[in-house]
Amino acid sequence: MTDTTAEHSTDVFDGVVELISGLVGDDLDILGVEVRPDTAFHEDLGLESIDLVTLGGLLADRYGPRVNLAEHLAEFDLDDVIGLTVGQIADYVAGALREGD
């Protein structure tokens, strides 16, 4: 991952955080969790892998079919899916959008 990617990803990251916050709801406020790139999907946000299904749908709705989380995660080991961070998702989305440009 390069710095350039990270810079380009800022907007995408905010967008992903917005979707995730919608998914998690009020819980983030109460838990006092600030969503950052290293925030873990399961461990920090308490989401299950089944919730990725919903997130995948939300991402596709927002960014179009170019963003296919299902396809992307097919290459991941189960451990990696469980340890997935918000930053990884945002990076994937940013990358997918760039490739499509």
């Binding site: 109460i30 089944i50 919903t54 296919n68 097919a74 189960l78």
Partner: protein, 1363 residues
């Protein structure tokens, strides 16, 4: 002072206490810091109303049997992990409680020190405990047996010179009976030094183990001895401490007479208004090692003991008054031993005073302290006394103070003293002051504290404690500070928020607030962060329907399980991609080996998943968490079936090994089932195998098709992940392979589950009949898993809480399926968190939802278990409550009023409705009149002097004129009312006020039938004597309640010849009539020397070797002699047949001493009894000598001779008893049903009753022990083939209920129940529990589970009362 003279410091490496308000060290520290006042009124069960009765003028001289003080420090009821500590559970009640208390505390202290291995060579570990010679409750019991009963009898005899030996014997039995059986082997348990020896014995420590007594200085003297053992290197570690337990009235009387107790009921040490002490109790133990050893081994060192000083007062004014000169010597010796100068300004930061709150004692102590420590400029130190919180714990006072001082030094906190707003003015010139709240211990140099303990008689001890030098702790901390749990309940959110503020920082062990409150908050490990989360959660508590279950915080305003009919489900996972539950610590808690976690092959994977689930099931049962129903996912249904006993066996072991499976793969899809179906429409070989949740389905098919589909689904944005196992279960592809599975299932059989089990094949409950079950087992393998639907179905059936019996993803399927429906899903295990920590969360979440799990069960025994002897076994039999009350000498309720002027009229039980009481009185009067009339009639006919049975044939209704010569009949009304002596021949014991006589089963003794036959023939053929009775057969019990009429038929075919007598269907015999008794052929034989000790009536009847009541308790002594001879002395009592019945009892006693099985014997036949004279007179003592033999294991026989005054009275030949299945343990249940159980508690909290009866007669005995009248009627209605299992179920259920109650002494008291007091109704696997005849019981139900063909287990659970 020369520092080089200082002895080597000794390190405190472990500690434990049980003190008022503090069951453990953590709580003690919490109480010390927060100033918890543990003083209470004397608990009702330890308060004698007379001793604590009114004292009109406390200042006037007090009678010694009174006290004016009614408060003190009392231990909460405590229990003992008897199995874990290697104590026989049935001996717990025979051991002085202080021994058990000490054992529990000592083993906790060892655990705190890191376990036995950390103490090094067991041969050099000592145990030295301060323990005064005070009387404990068990010794009080012995005193009553040994002396008080005798005294009462002597006094009663003096008051009633006319009272006969028989009556005194009755009274004696009535007094001894309530004391229970004598257990000679338990006598050792009263020996005081066992407080120390038992610790050494159970922990296998081989250094010196002994107690010391220096009154209130005992503990510190023990510490002094311990330090001596360590510095001389005779020991490498010593457990030192003290114990005081009992609060015996005599002890209180001494202090009352001395006026040492506070007349204002308050202990105010160091206060200007101190006016006396209050007595406390408890125990404390410290583990001491040489500091150099502790440092070498990297022990955690709480603090070091720098020096101990002891001194006696020498000759002073009195033994009672404390002397400050002696105290000063002790103080100076301790500081000298420490190599320190007490008078320098920073010598000490905290002094734990002995101060008991007596003005004289405080004055002497403050004077001594003032002189030794002085008040140099700049010197300031805190003084205090923990007695202000727990009372004066006597020999344990020093250890309570020492542990307090060590904790203060260790934590760097100066501690408060209660009730000292106005300090004693003698403190003013000293450097000392009292704190009213804890504060940090600031200052330079090592923190140093000192502890005083001064004993009666002028024995003084002083200990100097110092902060441990910084030592790296290399040895890993073995005892982790346990994670606290905060549980709060309130009726409104504001109150809940207030409780959170108050208790958040320091959660008590128990829930706080009104337990009925519906607003409930649980926080596990309340860190600042979690408490903040909790506050934010509560801030929204007003929002309707707001709940929270995340971040180790749970909250609700609508507890799910408080909803009527709400149920809890256990959900059993099948194979999942991830399988790594952390449960080894859970296994350790249960004393089990960690389960395997192999997932290499399908059989291994299946077994590992099931083993983990079943371990969690056992662990949850220990917490009291039990399911109302079960469901499994895929092969998780097999686990559910095993636990519901649908399958036999303890594991879903249907032999998967080597079983065939199709070569197909699974693909998990992130979509609903209809989308999955659409996606596979063009793949004919692929089917949907699982409808897991709205967002997950699984399809199955050949690998190539699955790979194609994976790509296609992903391209459409659907998550698709092949599963790492391929079994083909739940698909038609499995069909060709199903047979071997079904064959295996059929071989073990399937039956209705003991709990509702839900099938994901049908999305409904499993059926009950075995054919349907087998069909469904086949479908389960070939039809899809409809998990989403079955979860919805359970929700509709009222299931609200779903506990996932594993660590995987399955829970998210349940949540996803239930969406907005109210529910709680929680995993019983985690892959990241230790198992016990996860169970703590489960318990907390369930508590929030309204359940009452026992969180403490997670903490027990990890400590004790690690220190107890090697004999520790896996069976978690559970904690045995320790009875701490002294017995009260009282006559058996059945005997009350026996010597009242209206003798024979028992007092009516209190609380009877007036009409019933009236009827009863009339009935009793009527009966009396009948008996008197009959007695008078009989007396008028016969010479009374030689009649042992004046009412031999009472209430004889008719003596109809029979045909002359041949046959005579007479009708006899047999009832307890007409024959009160039958009260002494009841087979079964019941509660004293039990209204249903049939439940006691009064039975006419066989020998009474013989005497009735004799008397009836003598009456039918007047002038002739019944001189012999032959060919006697006893065929059925003649039961006297309900009353029945028995026809006595006498046939004399040959005039002048023998008479055939038949007593209904109960007995038959031949009676020889003659004009005179035949002479005996030989003089009365001599028994020769006895070969063993004599059995006394106390053992025979007190121990209920014989079940007989006073009316049949004739044996005064039984001895065994060479050649299978037994000799007995029998007092002649009035009941008919009593002498010969006692001959039978003697045979029973001989048998019980001789064999261990089938020890319950009843006569079935006698070849002949020849009488050589008239019955011996009432009150005489006759001799009986029997030659006994055991022809086989089902019988015992004898020939016997009964002599009176040196002449043979009766010769008995061929007496034959049948022996029933009953070993000594079973006999204990028969003899003392209230205190024993036939069933055994199992590790999982259930009770198991196993068949032990090879004959119906044997079983019938326990039908009577366990069942009450309505239950016996139900039993009789059960087809004979099913009766055994039915009975076992009732036995297990009653024992389970009784065990459940006994495990909750706080709630249900310590009174034990007779089995008949638990009334069970209902059929099948679920029984409703009610109290019988006035017994109040909680709302419970019992679930029965067959455990094989000859055993049943019962599980008891609380119900809401709605179902």
């Amino acid at each position: 002072m020369d520092a080089s003279q200082a002895r080597e410091p000794v390190a405190v490496v472990g500690m434990a206490v049980m003190l008022p308000g503090a069951p453990d060290l953590d709580t003690y520290w919490h109480n010390l810091r927060t100033g918890h006042d543990a003083i209470t009124d004397v608990p009702p069960d330890r308060r004698d109303p007379h001793f604590h009765g009114d004292v009109p003028d406390p200042a006037a001289p007090l009678p010694p049997d009174r006290t004016y003080c009614h408060r003190g420090g009392f231990l909460a009821p405590f229990s003992l992990d008897a199995a874990g500590l290697g104590i026989m559970p049935n001996s717990v009640d025979t051991i002085e409680p202080d021994q058990l208390l000490t054992l529990r505390v000592a083993s906790a202290a060892v655990a705190d020190a890191g376990g036995l291995p950390a103490l090094g060579d067991a041969g050099k570990v000592g145990v030295i405990l301060g323990r005064g010679g005070y009387i404990g409750p068990r010794m009080v019991g012995l005193e009553q047996r040994v002396r008080t009963v005798r005294t009462v009898l002597r006094v009663v005899a003096e008051l009633n010179p006319g009272m006969g030996e028989g009556e005194l014997a009755e009274l004696r039995a009535a007094l001894l009976d309530p004391l229970g059986p004598v257990q000679p082997e338990s006598a050792i348990n009263l020996v005081p030094n066992l407080a120390a020896s038992r610790v050494a014995n159970r922990l296998d420590l081989r250094g010196p183990a002994y107690t010391v007594d220096a009154a209130c200085a005992s503990s510190l003297l023990a510490v002094d001895q311990a330090i001596g053992e360590l510095t001389t290197r005779r020991c490498d570690a010593v457990l030192a401490g003290g114990v005081y337990h009992g609060h015996d009235d005599t002890f209180w009387a001494v202090f009352s007479q001395l006026r040492a107790l506070s007349p204002t009921q308050g202990i105010r040490p160091l206060s200007a208004d101190a006016d006396g002490l209050l007595i406390g109790e408890g125990a404390g133990v410290v583990v001491l090692r040489r500091l150099s050893d502790a440092r070498r081994d990297g022990d955690r060192v709480y603090a070091v003991i720098r020096g101990v000083g002891t001194a006696s007062d020498g000759r002073t004014q009195s033994l009672f008054n404390p002397d400050s000169a002696g105290q000063r010597v002790a103080l100076r010796r301790a500081w000298s031993a420490a190599g320190l100068d007490p008078a320098v300004p920073d010598s000490v930061g905290l002094v734990e005073a002995h101060s008991t709150g007596t003005p004289v004692g405080d004055a002497a102590e403050l004077s001594a302290l003032g002189e030794v420590f002085g008040a140099p400029p700049g010197a300031s130190a805190v003084i205090g006394s923990v007695k202000s919180m727990i009372g004066h714990t006597m020999p344990a006072a020093g250890i309570a103070g020492l542990v307090k001082a060590v904790l203060a030094v260790h934590h760097g906190v100066l501690l408060p003293t209660l009730h000292c707003a106005d300090p004693n003015p003698l403190l003013e010139p000293t450097r000392f002051h009292v704190l009213d709240a804890a504060k940090p211990w600031e200052g330079v140099g090592p923190r140093r504290a000192a502890v005083n303990a001064f004993g009666f008689g002028g024995i003084n001890a002083h200990v100097v404690v110092e902060q441990a030098p910084d030592t790296p702790i290399r040895r890993p901390a073995r005892v982790v500070e346990r994670e606290r749990v905060l549980r709060l309940a309130a009726h409104d959110p504001a109150e809940l928020a207030r409780l959170l503020d108050e208790h958040g920082d320091c959660p008590p062990d128990e829930p706080v607030g009104d337990p009925t409150g519906r607003f409930r908050l649980g926080v596990v490990g309340p860190t600042a962060k979690r408490l903040t989360v909790a506050q934010r959660v509560l801030a929204r508590a007003d929002q309707p329907g707001w709940t929270w279950s995340s971040g180790d915080v749970w909250f609700t305003g609508t507890p799910l399980l408080r909803e009527p009919g709400a149920k809890t489900a256990f959900v059993f996972p099948g194979l999942e991609a991830e399988f790594a539950p952390r449960i080894d610590d859970v296994a350790a808690l249960l004393g089990e080996e960690p389960p395997g976690a192999e997932t290499g092959s399908v059989p291994e994977h299946v077994a590992a998943v099931a083993d983990a689930s079943m371990l969690l099931d056992r662990a949850l049962a220990r917490l009291g968490v039990r399911p109302d129903g079960l469901v499994g996912h895929s092969i998780g249904e097999w686990t559910a079936a095993v636990l519901a006993r649908m399958f036999t066996g303890d594991r879903p072991g249907i032999g998967l090994d080597g079983f065939p499976m199709p070569a197909v793969d699974y693909l998990a899809l992130g979509c609903a089932v209809d989308e999955a179906e659409r996606g596979i429409a063009d793949e004919p070989d692929v089917v949907v195998s699982h409808d897991n949740a709205p967002r997950q389905s699984v399809v199955c098919g050949p690998r190539e098709a699955i790979e194609r589909l994976a790509e296609r689904f992903r391209a459409a944005g659907v998550f698709a992940r092949p599963l790492p196992f391929s079994t083909g279960f739940h698909t038609p592809m499995m069909a060709p392979y199903v047979d071997p599975y079904l064959h295996a299932i059929r071989a073990t059989g399937m039956r209705a589950g003991t709990l509702p089990v839900y099938s994901a094949t049908t999305a409904d409950r499993y059926p009950d009949d075995s054919d349907s079950l087998l069909r469904l087992s086949a479908d389960h393998l070939v039809k899809p898993v409809r998990f989403r639907e079955v979860v919805a179905r359970m929700s509709a059936d009222g299931y609200r809480v779903f506990v996932l019996m594993g660590a995987g993803q399955l829970g998210s399927f349940v949540s996803d399926s239930l969406d907005d429906a109210p529910h709680l899903v929680i995993n019983a295990a985690s892959s990241v968190r230790p198992g016990l920590a996860q169970l703590r969360r489960v318990a907390t979440a369930l508590w929030v939802e309204g359940a009452d799990p026992d969180l403490a069960a997670l903490e027990q025994s990890t400590k004790a278990g690690s220190t107890a002897s090697q004999k520790d076994n896996a069976s978690a039999v559970g904690e045995i409550p320790v009875r701490v009350t002294s017995p009260t000498l009282t006559v058996d309720p059945e005997a009350r009023g026996r010597f009242a002027p209206s003798r024979g009229r028992p007092d009516l039980p209190a609380g009877l409705p007036a009409d019933i009481a009236g009827e009863l009185s009339a009935l009793i009067a009527d009966t009396d009149a009948t008996v008197r009339a009959v007695t008078a009639a009989v007396r008028s006919r016969r010479a009374p002097a030689i009649r042992p049975a004046p009412a031999a044939l009472p209430a004889q209704r008719a003596l109809p004129a029979a045909e002359p010569g041949a046959v005579r009949t007479t009708l006899l009304r047999v009832s307890v009312a007409d024959m009160p002596y039958l009260r002494g021949h009841r087979f079964f014991r019941q509660r004293a006020d039990w209204p249903d006589e049939t439940d006691r089963r009064p039975v006419v003794p066989a020998t009474t039938l013989v005497e009735w036959a004799q008397r009836a023939t003598e009456r039918a053929w007047p002038g002739e004597l019944a001189v012999a009775v032959r060919d006697i057969r006893f065929t059925r019990w003649l039961i006297a309640a309900p009353s029945q009429d028995v026809e006595i038929t006498m046939t004399r075919p040959v005039p002048g010849g023998p008479v055939q007598v038949r007593l209904g269907e109960f007995a038959a015999m031949t009676v020889d009539l003659a004009d005179a008794y035949p002479a005996a052929s030989a003089p009365a034989p001599h028994p020769g020397p006895a070969t063993g000790p004599a059995l006394t009536p106390v053992e025979i009847y007190g121990g209920r070797q014989m079940f007989h009541g006073p009316q049949f308790q004739g044996l005064t002594e039984v001895t065994a002699h060479d050649g299978d001879r037994a000799h007995g002395q029998i007092k002649v009592l009035p009941a008919p047949g009593c002498v010969l019945d006692n001959v039978g009892q003697m045979l029973g006693c001989w048998l019980q001493a001789r064999v261990d099985t089938r020890i319950l014997a009843f006569p079935t036949r006698v070849d002949s009894i020849v009488f050589h004279g008239p019955p011996p007179p009432l009150g005489a003592v006759v001799d009986c000598l029997a030659d006994a033999r055991i022809p086989d294991e089902a019988a015992v026989e004898m020939d016997a001779v009964v002599s009176h005054a040196g002449r043979v009275w009766a010769t008995i030949t061929g007496w034959h008893d049948i022996r029933l299945d009953c070993d000594h343990t079973d006999h204990g249940v028969y003899a003392f049903p209230r205190d024993h159980a036939l069933s055994r508690p199992q590790a999982d909290g259930t009770w198991l009753a196993q068949d032990r009866w090879t004959t119906l007669a044997s079983r019938d005995v326990f039908v009577g022990v366990y069942l009450s009248a309505p239950e016996r009627a139900a039993y009789a209605a059960v087809p004979p083939r099913g009766q055994r299992t039915w009975l076992l179920g009732r036995v297990a259920a009653k024992d389970a209920v009784r065990g459940w109650l006994a495990a909750r002494p706080d709630e249900w008291g310590t009174e034990t129940l007779f089995p008949a007091e638990v009334l069970l109704t209902g059929d099948g696997e679920r029984l409703v529990v009610r109290g019988h005849h006035g017994r109040a019981l909680p709302d419970l139900r019992v679930t029965l589970t067959p455990a094989g063909p000859t055993a049943v287990t019962a599980r008891v659970e609380r119900t809401t009362g709605d179902d």
